[in-house]
Symmetry: D2
Subunit: 309 residues, 4 copies
């Protein structure tokens, strides 16, 4: 299907449920998609960071694509991450995703390599040239170890190379430069924030949409938040956002002397989906450290406090 | 074939020649292998950073493995990089490499993800458990954005998880802790330096071998250097090393306002191999920036000065 | 004078005008203070990053303190940066500032040293214990190379150690956690954003005030912005903020192949103050690179576009 | 006194003993100087990182200078760190040190500020221009967050701006480029390594001397090591170096979940000096975390194992 220009609204990065023996749990994945669609989201983003794409072997990535694209069946656009180190490898993932029926591709700057801005620009230009689909840049310096500057993004947007940006950099100043700059230069460009905590702010600045990992757990909350913002009901938006900020506290249940932030944050999202009955098993991919029963139990308290359990 | 314990000597990380239309140039790759074997190297390391593994799609990686393993035909051990973000993805590459006949696997800590030491340890333990082959850890903080501490490496060595370390961190103090620590705890463990510039020092400290990218260009030089060190001829070793240090200056021919360090360094190695008649085409993988004719010409001057042209 | 709890409003970090021979230009500094007070600001922050505190020798710091505190004469609170590497050195600056009549102290975490969170906490506790004045933490990871986590800040706020936070980290998610957390735990704590570009957002989230470097150039603009936010006039706030975002573009007039971001940004602020007739000389402290005449001229275009020239 | 060109040998960075109430313990400092001189060192470096210069207020820095310069009384050259953020502040420290009788100044690149290579070059040129004394660059990226590239150092050496380099970067490849480059361009330039663990290597490469923090604890060991290297007795040098590597293990006695690496490393050096009877009190400056009695006790075991207790 053709993507709206710009793409707007709530676009959750869909978690990838796993079975106890580390296969993709397609039944749980289908239920998760239903849970998100029922929540009123505007599109789905598969194979991003919250999907544990970095941990999924290629056959799992294909299973995710086939399952989600097949189940959604054109009701909503499906964006697919093509997360890999450099242009040729990203292209392979992009082609697989487009063949499977994805509607757009999301790609980061090169990583692992020591990358120069001229190489980042060349990377996105080559991707766009060779993919017959809208291309979104994914700005995630904590993983990619380079930052997409507003000027670089806007030049690529103005040239039609990029259809949008998913900004998970946390750098709201730079993101605002993109939002302001696109007005004159690329009005159909979609500026999406990856933040869970500043969605009301980002939308007030003029962001088109939001890609919140926590949206897996509470899609209804983010959809309400988006609608309050669009309706100009700032007080209701802020209240909803603050409820979601409190809920987001769950990402820190795993202690830093025992595990990394991915283990803790993705473990918490999956524990929450499990506790809410959406997925069968809260397992995260290897080599992440699983949450203990006590830590998973604390996730439940966040759900209860947010009225979700 | 069974790897010596420890693996010693010169183990060049084999460059991957490409054709003008970005396919693996297997004829040039075979010639490069012959050039290295003729130089007297002790083993080959394919699909590492100098091989542009980060840029090679899976089918190129398989072509490299098949070409090199097939051509070497058991004369020398072949170590294969399994460069990817996390355990499940690394495992897929490792299995492909072992099926193709590689003798050992080289893997980094997880990257792209936000990784904790407990997850790095778990990663290597899971890899070793599931691969029937010696496993080398690859310490490359400039790419992986975490450092393998000596204690972590030594614990894994003592437990038989790791067969060796390729240390490209540049942190010679930490590397020496590994060298000293392995004596009592894991004498068969192979401590290899990835440095081009401090090989004589590393061997004098007790390193077992060297994995120099510049060894593609001048394998004879590194083999001579290694032999001088083993024979205790320090003066000859130092002279040879200093000649190689001067030659290494080629990696900076590409200006930093136009390209990154990979483009410049790998571009220089390939330009040198092209000028020496070993490979047909100096092209680097996308999105790297090619050297200009003038910059490639300056590579020639380094070769001439080192007596290689 | 006693600081309001919380301190609210616009608190510009006062630039330090220099003479052509690198002395503090006290006449220009006095005019700058008048310009800020006339703009309606709520307090002044001297000897912060925008003041080039890192470049000022102690006798210049004292001159700044004496000049500003003397000239303000109690009309407004004056906060003083005590920018140095560790507790004993910060304490010396803090005592000097308090003796000169400053109303509060602003200090970063230790820097240059390799610092642990336990040492950061101990640092702020020791400072508070030994200074008879409100203590603000200054979160500036780009300079200090550590980040003040919300939990650390909130614990110190709840214990009465910190009177406030100047958050120049750009991490709005973490800042929001501070804003939300202080409600129950430390209602008199002052959460100030150091951003120039997201002031409307920060205030909408519940921030108490703003410390914008660009407020030197256009204090009236930030004061209007603050008032629109307090009055709930979001449309007017956003329009004012967007005008200021465009004006902020001046910080990039200095090209990155010739100078660092401090040289360019502080050079632009001083060029603007010079062009507006507030200060006599746009010189920045050594070893910063001066803007060229052409670059300074481009600053003028930003002023004109913003209606300030 | 006039410094040799190049300065060679062992130049320990002198620790700063403190009293229980955080004053400089001049009696202990004098004994420490005697202990170093008795060990046969070639010069002293005061007010560097191992001296806790970052923690010493200006009056303590002056006390250290006066005590050491006075006590040494011209027997040995005294180099003085002028550790501060930028040119004007470094200059103040440099002038104080020269007035006190120091023979040379040691300064880092600017820190805290966001610094460009052009600004680093300008910084050292301005310092040299305004100080009538030899100027050493101090490369310490872990503190300064920028790296001094070999080309930058060599250009400044060739122009007579820099008299030497103290390289504590751990990047031996870059250090070797300096060593090789200075031969033709600046033969009187002094290339000193700050490493404790690779002194034999550095000297074998052609380094002129060594500035080891651990040299406070065991100056005799480093002096023997230096002499073995100069005499070409590689086996003895390596044995001595390996004994010192084992001794250096003491820096990790402080656990990383409780303190930073400065607290642990400097705490261990001072505990060792206290146990050896050189200084009266092992206290480190605030806000460092003190070692526990058990941790200090483990330092004693390292001393015993190295034959120092």
């Amino acid at each position: 299907m053709t993507l709206p220009t710009p793409l707007t609204g709530v676009v959750p990065p869909v978690c990838t449920p796993l079975t106890p023996d580390h296969e993709v749990d397609t039944a749980s994945l289908t239920r998760l998609v239903d849970h998100l669609v029922a929540g009123g989201v505007d599109a789905l983003f598969v194979l991003g960071s919250s999907s544990e794409a970095a941990y999924l072997p290629d056959r799992h990535r294909r299973t995710v694509l086939d399952t989600v694209v097949g189940h959604v069946a054109g009701q909503l656009p499906v964006l697919a991450g093509a997360i890999d180190m450099t242009t040729p490898r990203v292209l392979d993932h992009a082609r697989t995703a487009l063949t499977a029926g994805a509607d757009a591709i999301v790609a980061t700057a090169p990583f692992y390599t020591r990358t120069h801005p001229a190489e980042i620009t060349r990377h996105f230009r080559l991707l766009a040239e060779r993919c017959e689909a809208p291309l979104f840049a994914y700005d995630l310096p904590v993983s990619v170890h380079s930052k997409l500057d507003a000027d670089l993004v806007l030049d690529l947007a103005a040239d039609g190379v990029l259809a949008g940006l998913k900004d998970s950099s946390g750098d709201e100043g730079n993101f605002r430069e993109v939002i302001l700059g696109k007005r004159g230069r690329a009005p159909g460009f979609s500026a999406l924030t990856g933040s869970e905590l500043t969605v009301d702010s980002a939308l007030a600045m003029g962001a088109d949409g939001v890609v919140p990992g926590l949206g897996n757990v509470d899609p209804d909350g983010y959809v309400r938040l988006y609608r309050h913002c669009r309706n100009g009901d700032r007080a209701a938006a802020r209240a909803e956002q603050e409820r979601l900020c409190a809920l987001f506290g769950m990402v820190a249940v795993g202690p830093q002397d025992r595990m990394g932030r991915s283990s803790s944050g993705l473990g918490a999202f999956k524990a929450a989906l499990h506790l809410r009955g959406v997925i069968d098993c809260p397992r995260t991919a290897e080599p992440q450290i699983p949450l203990s029963a006590e830590e998973a139990g604390r996730v439940g308290k966040y759900l209860t406090a947010a009225g979700l359990l």
